[in-house]
């Protein structure tokens, strides 16, 4: 049995496979089908200062090898999380990471402050890349200054491991990555979804209530792998790769490109057991290649 553990800042994960925010609820939904304690980490749904109803239906459309969503950060707010959900999931033997979203810098800071005292929150993931909210979200993530404003403020409010989730909807993702590293991030996760759109041609209306939404799934994996590869060469902090990972092979692809860990997102909708299968695959892969640690995969691409 190879050593699957990897290190993200001060946080040690038992293996590199986490779930992506907004694709795995709070984990409980999957408990019938997989042992949650096997996961490297669970990144729970985007959490905001106040409850949010999200966007109107329809919020989803299937696209070639992927899907567009426009959920819009529906959640019951950080107080509900702390008072109810946290109590239910805190004793899982996996890293619980909370995705933090907001419309203003103050919103992000308020959520970070509320989460800061919680022992069993292993890290926060600052989401400056949600494409489905009118204010904040992705608009912070597309400029260095915007990204730094959020990340610096959150850094002051949160003492633990702080991951920052980047948007792919930029000309040069390495520039944003460097700015976010300089602002105090302990790790980066990329990519969030790609801004996309689909039309019901017979009715001549957009498929989503919000017209545009976030594209995810294996369709965009080649772009996400490229960005992880570029960013991992640029920064000194760990990179967490995501974007269309459907299985263990895809997870290894991201690690070879430079990711220290990965998140599985949309695949959970197609195969709710994709995460545990990927963990087994990585173990088998390491054995097959005569490697004894998952860390040996990180950036091992021969170019």
């Amino acid at each position: 049995m190879a050593d699957l553990s990897v290190q993200i800042g001060n946080l040690k994960l038992k293996n590199p496979v986490m779930t992506a925010s907004g694709t795995f609820g709070y984990g409980e939904e999957f408990a019938d089908l997989i042992d949650l304690n096997q996961l490297g980490g669970i990144i729970v749904k985007g959490t905001t200062r106040m409850p949010r109803q999200g966007n109107p239906y329809p919020r989803m459309v299937e696209t070639p090898s992927g899907m567009l969503n426009a959920v819009g950060l529906q959640n019951k707010g950080v107080d509900h999380f702390v008072e109810h959900i946290y109590l239910r999931i805190k004793d899982l033997d996996t890293a619980i990471i909370v995705n933090v979203s907001g419309s203003t810098v103050d919103d992000y800071v308020a959520v970070c402050e509320r989460l800061n005292p919680l022992d069993k929150v292993a890290a926060v993931e600052i989401n400056i890349s949600c494409p489905n909210v009118k204010q904040g979200g992705m608009t912070f993530g597309t400029t260095c200054a915007g990204a730094q404003s959020v990340v610096s403020a959150c850094r002051k409010a949160y003492d633990g491991t702080m991951i920052v989730k980047l948007t792919p909807n930029v000309t040069d993702v390495t520039e944003i990555a460097r700015a976010v590293q300089d602002a105090g991030a302990d790790a980066l996760s990329l990519t969030n979804t790609f801004l996309g759109m689909a039309i019901d041609v017979e009715r001549q209306v957009p498929c989503l209530s919000t017209i545009t939404g976030g594209l995810s799934g294996p369709c965009i994996r080649p772009i996400a792998v490229r960005m992880v590869w570029q960013v991992a060469k640029t920064v000194n902090i760990p990179v967490i790769g995501l974007g269309g990972i459907m299985n263990g092979r895809d997870a290894v692809e991201f690690m070879l490109a430079g990711a220290t860990a990965v998140q599985i997102g949309t695949a959970n909708f197609v195969d709710p057991q994709a995460t545990v299968k990927a963990i087994h695959y990585i173990n088998d892969y390491l054995n097959r290649h005569g490697l004894d640690s998952a860390t040996q995969l990180i950036g091992a691409l021969k170019t």
């Binding site: 019938d32 749904k45 999200g54 696209t63 090898s65």
Partner: protein, 260 residues
């Protein structure tokens, strides 16, 4: 009662083509029993043989035949994914997650009318069977475009009285289901309805007007089918946006904000 979710490989024992556009898939798990499920719950089916289908397809559980350890799914050829399901061969393997969501309320009286249209009759078969097994006498009101579009009529006939409407009048009452007098007869206290949206809205409107308790089964577009993606939401009077896949697919019409 909450049934545990399972993901299982099933073998296609029989693919019974019903007319041009429907298939009744009779499936048997490769291992173990078809998991316990309630009438109105659904399954998420991974389409194995379609180039352009990425997500699973939600399909109502039509019947669980315990004697033969079979799961029945009734599929309408709508898009590419369901067409591929209709084209499955006997012996093919199908990966199915079930049971999902919350089904119909089982009322312990004989005043229940099960109203279905098109492929929406599927969950009513299981519901009717369950009611009959519990000693009730359900009635059915089935609507279709033509006589040829009436599905599973033989099956329904063994479970209770069947009322019929057809759009073209080729059998039963001529017109849509809300034209049928049984809907407004005195001895109906509960309606369980599944069918196309215009039909469900019309039935819901009539039920509200008549003060009849009514549940409908929604078909909102969904990705995961298990409350994770939050895509299939329906706006409710009591709780705002809720997932159809977990809080539904069956809703009492009093929870819905339908303008009816």
């Amino acid at each position: 009662m909450e049934y545990k979710k399972h993901i299982l490989d099933f073998k296609v024992v029989q693919n019974q083509h019903l007319g041009m556009n429907y298939s009744l898939l009779m499936l048997k798990p490769f291992e173990g029993e078809v998991p316990p499920s309630a009438p109105g719950q659904f399954a998420q089916v991974l389409v194995p043989n379609s180039k352009r289908t990425f997500l699973r397809r939600p399909i109502s559980i039509c019947n669980i035949d315990r004697d033969n350890n079979q799961l029945w799914l009734l599929v309408r050829r709508a898009g590419e994914g369901t067409a591929a399901l209709c084209d499955l061969h006997e012996g093919d393997t199908l990966n199915v997650m079930l049971p999902l969501g919350h089904g119909f309320t089982l009322h312990r009286d004989d005043a229940m009318l099960l109203v279905g249209g098109g492929v929406g009759v599927a969950p009513l078969l299981m519901l009717g069977k369950e009611l009959k097994e519990q000693g009730m006498q359900p009635q059915f009101l089935l609507g279709a475009r033509t006589k040829a579009d009436l599905l599973l009529l033989d099956q329904f006939s063994t479970l209770g009285k069947v009322h019929i409407t057809t759009d073209d009048g080729s059998t039963g009452v001529h017109g849509v289901v809300t034209k049928h007098p049984v809907l407004t007869s005195d001895n109906i206290a509960h309606i369980a309805c599944c069918g196309p949206m215009p039909m469900m809205r019309a039935v819901a409107a009539l039920a509200r007007q008549q003060g009849i308790d009514c549940e409908v089964s929604l078909e909102n577009l969904m990705a995961c089918g298990m409350g994770a993606c939050l895509c299939c939401v329906e706006d409710t009077a009591d709780a705002g946006n809720v997932c159809v896949c977990t809080e539904g697919p069956v809703f009492n019409i009093n929870r819905l904000k339908w303008q009816i």
